[in-house]
């Protein structure tokens, strides 16, 4: 009889604890329920904060980095002397490798009409080092911008580049506004 009573007591304590644990779970969920966003959040760079330190190329868990230079054509001046394409103080403005700023040759220069040239980023070659972005921002319109390319980003819970970013430019953005270009009205997605 005593044994049975002991067992009942243990069961009772157990049940109490179970309810307490359940209640705390419900409590946490309840507190957080109004702080949720239904969609997933994505990581993106605030281009106004970015200082093109070059860490996007090295800190990403994906190799090569999911951060790419994206060309906002609407802002481009189509300059012949492109600060993003050419090294500073080049002798000749040609597509020669010695003249190119991009370490991987990921920018394609195409003649349009005198004196304008189109610059296209070959995404497969881009490593997201931001050298062209810095050059374009310093001498040009700033139409080259570093952005997280969401088809490549694995959307880590904590972005490894965000941790290393010296300018605090990374933040979680809602999935319906996945890009943060500056000085540019968003056209259609695609």
């Amino acid at each position: 009889m005593e044994k049975k009573g002991k067992k009942d007591r243990r069961d009772f304590i157990n049940t109490c604890f179970r309810f307490a644990a359940g209640a705390s779970l419900v409590g946490v969920t309840g507190v957080l329920a109004h702080k949720t966003v239904s969609g997933n959040t994505l990581w993106q760079i605030d281009t106004t904060k970015c200082t093109q330190c070059g860490r996007c190329a090295t800190s990403c868990v994906v190799t090569p980095s999911a951060v790419k230079c994206i060309h906002v054509y609407d802002m481009c001046g189509y300059c012949d002397l492109c600060g993003g394409y050419l090294r500073p103080n080049v002798k000749n403005i040609t597509t020669g490798a010695e003249n190119q700023l991009c370490p991987t040759g990921a920018i394609k220069r195409k003649y349009i009409e005198d004196p304008f040239f189109e610059y296209e980023i070959i995404e497969d070659l881009c490593i997201g080092c931001g050298k062209c972005v810095k050059g374009c921002g310093a001498f040009g319109n700033g139409s080259l911008q570093l952005q997280v390319s969401h088809d490549l980003c694995v959307n880590c819970n904590q972005c490894a580049i965000a941790r290393d970013c010296p300018s605090d430019a990374f933040s979680r953005v809602p999935a319906d506004e996945p890009y943060k270009f500056s000085g540019f009205k968003k056209e259609k997605k695609g």
Partner: protein, 433 residues
């Protein structure tokens, strides 16, 4: 600048030069650097019928899939719970494990997982500006709810981190109890630290040192790969080394599982004390019956328990005090605090500025603002380290006093807290329903 102008005069016609010059004037007068930057070279009007390419904005994985993951999680959890508790099938657990490795592991590339979602929840609780994705909250809560009812069936084969270790277990070695108890304290430290760092919005250390995510992505730094490889090799001999001796989420599941209502039982009926299951558990999570002669008399056991319990508050205060002495060191992980420290020690005349200092200076934020922000964070770490130290003291104390408690047991039962319901022991039981 003059070089550009010289070059432009050579190539551009006069009209364009005039527009450019007027723009320069506008730039000087407007005084808005941002506006000036955008209008430095206006987009030309093409005469050759050139069409401008569309700016590439690749879309992310659709939101719908986040919900799909949650549905898969619930389905997998329900299936494995049914397989363990009703079918009592180890083979079924293995099948679900393989599925989890393939889906949550290789296909979903290890993110988001329940283990990491613990930090999202903490961050959302402590930082008002962060709002947690519903799927992350679901990944945190659902396994805990299941565990509260059915034991750690999530660990058994749904968690991709646990599954990969469990599948690789070939020759389990038995560990000494004292070693198991000591190593078993690491998850509490890990949990405490990860909560401390997540609540101060410093870092997600669980994700940073996730051992298997690099393997699931086939892509990681050498460091991450090495941790993963070490754990995988180890898990062939030591059952689930990460789950038992590191996993911080496992601590929460452990607490929930202690009070679970329908935990797995080794025997489907009455235990016949055949001792076949005695060594079947690779985790050492089977409680053996306590022989009556070992039982001491009740009063002395109670006295010792009370004495040991009195140590707990002392341990808590000691732990809190010790850790609070190191709160500045703990806070140095935070990038803002680190930057503030660096700036204070920085001498412009004799030192080269680091990337952080350069970035900070170019942003133009006043130093005082950074210092006051850093001071607030350090203060949070001071409070946090007291709480963390107290928590660790409590855990150490409870573990100590728990060692002296002998529960009277007649049958072989799984240790509800440690058992991950891997269903290995079930095969050993000859009793039928």
């Amino acid at each position: 600048m003059s070089e550009i102008l010289k070059y432009l005069t050579q190539t551009w016609n006069l009209k364009k030069l005039v527009t450019l010059l007027s723009l320069f004037v506008l730039m000087m007068t407007s005084g808005l650097p941002l506006l000036a930057q955008q209008q430095r070279f206006p987009k030309p009007e093409f005469e050759s019928g050139y069409t401008q390419p569309v700016t590439s904005m690749p879309e992310a994985r659709a939101d719908f899939f986040a919900w799909f993951d949650v549905v898969i999680l619930i389905l997998a959890l329900s299936l494995i719970t049914w397989l363990i508790l009703k079918k009592r099938s180890r083979r079924g657990v293995l099948a679900v494990s393989v599925f989890s490795i393939l889906y949550f592991g290789f296909f979903r590339e290890g993110c988001i997982c329940s283990v990491g979602s613990l930090q999202n929840v903490t961050l959302a609780l402590f930082q008002p500006e962060y709002s947690i994705p519903l799927s992350a909250l679901a990944f945190f809560v659902i396994p805990l709810v299941y565990t509260l009812f059915f034991g750690r069936t999530f660990c058994a084969g749904v968690c991709p981190l646990g599954a990969i270790q469990d599948v690789l277990l070939l020759r389990p070695v038995t560990m000494k109890t004292w070693l198991q108890k000591v190593l078993g304290l690491i998850p509490y430290i890990y949990l405490g630290l990860s909560v401390l760092y997540a609540s101060t919005a410093t870092d997600f250390i669980i994700c940073r040192y996730d051992p298997f995510v690099g393997i699931y992505r086939f892509d990681a730094t050498f460091f991450m790969f090495s941790i993963g490889a070490i754990f995988l090799v180890l898990s062939a001999f030591v059952a689930r080394p990460y789950c038992r001796f590191f996993c911080p989420y496992g601590v929460l599941l452990n607490w929930m599982s202690r009070f679970s209502k329908h935990h797995l039982t080794i025997t489907p009926n009455k235990c016949i004390q055949c001792r076949l299951c005695e060594d079947s558990c690779p985790l050492g999570a089977i409680n053996k019956p306590v022989p009556v002669k070992v039982m001491e008399d009740r009063s002395s056991a109670t006295k010792r328990f009370i004495k040991l319990s009195l140590i707990i508050p002392v341990l808590m205060i000691l732990g809190g005090w010790t850790l609070s002495n190191f709160h500045e060191n703990l806070a140095k992980v935070n990038s803002k605090v680190r930057l503030a420290n660096e700036l204070m020690l920085f001498k412009a005349d004799s030192m080269l500025p680091s990337v952080e200092i350069e970035a900070f200076k170019s942003a133009g934020t006043p130093v005082e603002e950074l210092y006051s922000e850093a001071a607030v964070i350090v203060e949070q770490f001071y409070i946090g380290s007291w709480v963390l130290g107290g928590f660790l003291g409590l855990v150490f104390g409870l573990t100590l006093s728990g060692l002296s408690v002998f529960k009277y047991r007649e049958d072989y039962t799984p240790d509800k807290a440690e058992c991950v319901s891997c269903a290995r022991c079930l095969k050993y039981c000859p009793v039928e329903k």
